[in-house]
Amino acid sequence: MTELMTLFFVFALSFIVGYFLISRVPPLLHTPLMSMTNAISAVTILGAILIFSVELGSCEKFLGITAVIMATFNVVGGFVITDRMLKLFKKRTPPE
């Protein structure tokens, strides 16, 4: 039960701190922000990996592998595309 309370505490705290931090992000960067938070939400990859931490049947194995593939697709794709987008935001020297 204490474990559960800790988890709820972690949830509430992260939500509040996240809310506070993200409110300051300028609209200019909203698309990369969403793309990056999307990659972060693929932290489910940890859960997918943990499926393999106990002995498992062939059905669970198949589902686990699918979950791992989807989550890594989401993580890698999300961060790479965010990086590509952010590279576009430049400030050049004013034209002479």
Partner: protein, 472 residues
Amino acid sequence: MNAWPNLLIDLLIICLFLGGISLFYRPKKARAGNLMAAFAILAAFVAVVLRNPLEEPVLVVIAVAFGGGAGWLVARAVNMVQIPAMVAFQHGAGGIAAFLISFVELTRAASIPTTVVGEISGFLGLVLGAATFSASMVASGKLANLLYQKPVTLKGHSLWLLAIAVVIVLVAAVSGLSGNPARGYLLVALIGLSVLLGIVFSIRVGGADMPILISFLNATAGLAAAFCGIIIQNRLLVACGAAVAASGSILTHTMCRAINRSLTNVFVGIQQQGSSKTENLFFELPVRKESRAQPAEGTPPSEDGFSRAIRAAMDASKVIIIPGYGMALAQAQFKVVELAQRLEKMGKNVRFAIHPVAGRMPGHMNVLLAEAGVDYDKLVEMDDINPQFKDVDLALVVGACDVVNPAAIDSEGTPISGMPVLMAHEAKTVVVCNLDEKPGYSGVENPLYEMDKTITLFGDAGATVEKLLAGL
């Protein structure tokens, strides 16, 4: 699992995530922030693998390599116009992972006793994950122009949604009480129902409401991850999921406010009541009577309009360009930027005014223009640029209607009354390059078109801008 060193490592990783997000405060630092978050995920991954010896390590490594490789290839290949569809698709991939994990953990929970709260979280993770998956696929299809764009409303749409939701709750309750293998089948049925819920939910949203749907799905994907975290008792999942849910909620709220609709309004599909006729309450707009003789849709605008617009551009010293959804649709951003650069070479001050809902997802217009080569300090937010329109010689509207509609300020009872708009009507001259004279998505007539100082050039935005370029 509960040892202090582990807690410390988790806290450190969470701090890295939040630090990464906080760097998004400035465009220059955002790239480092993204890398920081990516590093945090990598660190979390390594920590989990070190703490828990895995069964079938070879299979897992292959899966990681395959998923990662595919993600990398796709992310390299998409262009900036496809970003919204790509992000929606990614929400869906996250949803799949969330409901599969919940499924496996819930079927295991039937043999290994867990807490009630943990199980409820598992069910929530499963339902939210599956619904996020299907809704994201629909959204992605719409954003990629593969599916019908307009909202599709079934007969008794809200009742259907409610009925599906009730059945989901019932099935979840029954499967919560039953053991294997019955629970497995019930959970499969639950996934099917949730997928259906996502589809029915998302087909009703379309057009200009897409930025709201995609932000909302961002939040639900985060929530699904957090619930997954509760059932497997993993702090990192809970923390990251919560932060993402917060981000999605903020973006959803911002988009709703910018489009002047409440969340229920968008998702319940209520078309706002109220007149689409605009009555001026506070001030009279000078209306050009003869403007009724506008060319019909599809016919090229009069040469007179072009020469007047070109003259206005030549004479102007301060220019603000207002790009809208129509510009993104016509993919005219490169031409528009070329025009802006030409005007700058002529010694004029050119900036872009960005309305929060311009584009197909929050902030999309900025990415499109950045790709086309505009410096980010020329991309000005609505609140910053609005007071400056009074001193501007020329406001060039490209493919935007509702976001420059002065009726939002001076008439009451229309769907856009009270919606924040760009003050294009305060500029000395306004040039409108829109497809046609029809009202925007809200259906409210735009009195801006009728003003004396407005020059309307109807037709394809790309062609119109090219013609302006040729004339300069």
